[in-house]
Symmetry: C2
Subunit: 350 residues, 2 copies
Amino acid sequence: MAEAFAEESVTVAADRARAVCAGVLAALGAPEAVAAGHAGLLVEADLRGRPSHGLQRLPVLVDRIKAGLIVPDAVPETTWVTPSFLRVDGRDGLGSVAMRTAGEALGEACEGTGLAVAAISNSGHVGMLAPYLEAICARGQIAIALTTSEALVHPAGGRTALVGTNPIGVGIPAEPDPFVLDMSTAAISAGEIIARGQRGEELPPGCAVDADGVPTTDPARALEGAISPFGGAKGYGLGLALELLVASLSRSALGTDVLGTLDTEHRTTKGDLLIVIDPAALSLPDPVAYLGGYLEELRQAPTAPGVERVLVPGDRMRAERELRLRDGIAYPAALWERLEGISANLGTEA
Amino acid sequence: MAEAFAEESVTVAADRARAVCAGVLAALGAPEAVAAGHAGLLVEADLRGRPSHGLQRLPVLVDRIKAGLIVPDAVPETTWVTPSFLRVDGRDGLGSVAMRTAGEALGEACEGTGLAVAAISNSGHVGMLAPYLEAICARGQIAIALTTSEALVHPAGGRTALVGTNPIGVGIPAEPDPFVLDMSTAAISAGEIIARGQRGEELPPGCAVDADGVPTTDPARALEGAISPFGGAKGYGLGLALELLVASLSRSALGTDVLGTLDTEHRTTKGDLLIVIDPAALSLPDPVAYLGGYLEELRQAPTAPGVERVLVPGDRMRAERELRLRDGIAYPAALWERLEGISANLGTEA
């Protein structure tokens, strides 16, 4: 049975994946640095084992650019409302452009103010949060990133999708690598439900409900219902709080009014928040020294039966990245052929 | 079997509970407003169905004050490090004093700066977060509160308690009542494990592990092991991120070095963070109007089988509060007798 669903894959070097993606974006009008930056971001997700935020997003992005819903050479408009609050209008550009613009502006401002917040609207899907956080951590600063998404999650006790998968990212400088939390508040991603359905696999219990609100492990029924929040009522409360915070501060949409990251018909109405804190500017101890011993204690903690090692957020992601940098990224053959087709049609050289 | 563990209870009016608690704190040297404020905070937890943060904390608090570990008339020292970052040294005072001092200072500053953060150290247990958030929401401001706690939670994949129960609170103005999330990142409270053990009840699955790291529903085995994070690896990552953020910004302790909220031997080494945002000062829409329709949509959402109504964080807590304000608070008889004994020994009149 499993073999009937076995998916052919093509192994591609990260550099090659980046080049194809950047070529496509450049051919559609993205400035070279923007194309390379966004391609790098998408491929980072594939390298780290988060294909839902990787190159599988490119075909939709291409259609969105062709439809005029994403403007590949948009320049974000930034306004300092107060010395620590930056409003960023993405002008319908790629999500990575506004997010990186915000990260750089906040990083510089924070050297004086100690902390600053950016509220971003009218900007495309930001992809994985971790790479933005890592860039900020590399400057010795702490970062928190939030973004909203299409409503795919049911409220606790409900059965229809009304809340986004609203991820939270937290990056804190540490050695040899920063602490990097990058997690959705949904129990599972929509992409993973689809992938499991294609492979004929069940879902882990507690991840989704069917159209009647009854918990299901059947991917097909889950797709007719809604994804569950992670961790039950608490995860629902957290995801909802993040949605309200992002919307309040970025004047972005709420619930089912959040559109334009998965479809090819609507402008992007979600919002993003980025918070940057500069410990040195606040006369605080260097987090690298202050937190390092504790993180190491966690990694060496006694384990539960069958567990090799306790991990700190970021550890698994980096290990997966190393493997794929060495061995290449296994893309579903159908996806990779489609990407090469798009690339050929646009006459890019990659 | 159940009857053997049935606990006698005494029903007490909220006013009476507050008066007894305030009398005890005042007799031990707390200024009248401080005593009333802290008593009000503890009784609010009992009213809202969170007895782990209610008057059951008073006997330990009394012992801590007598041991000189809590200074009931301490005046917090506040220092504006930058226009939006306030350092608060609680000078070993009651947790509510530093937290309220911070809330008022940030609220005022935010009218100009739009957002401000307080990092609090050397301050006692803050109790439930909701009442602080509500006071800030009443001024039309948004609040986020974090606090660390003794390490009671095992890391995902681990079996020893190394992470705090680290709650997060988010308050956003809304009508008729604010949105108030106030949740721990632990799957269950230590108090609830003890209470279930006394009643001869099992724990819900997934709440705790035994000393070998094997999941258990037996309260006695759970107490020899550790509490699980809510929501598995994601809840662990979130709780740990909050611990690192609080410690970094408030220079407070980490992991098993966090002491002094449950014991009667150590100074309090945990930290608190409070973030206040003033939408009007940031030229943002009034959250009451901006979010209200969405919150109402959630409350009227189609429900899962057996669920009467979808709730928004804060709804259940307020409903429980109304009931107990009307009918009184049912305290375990042994606890209430102990509190009256303490009160009598101190010669208070309450």
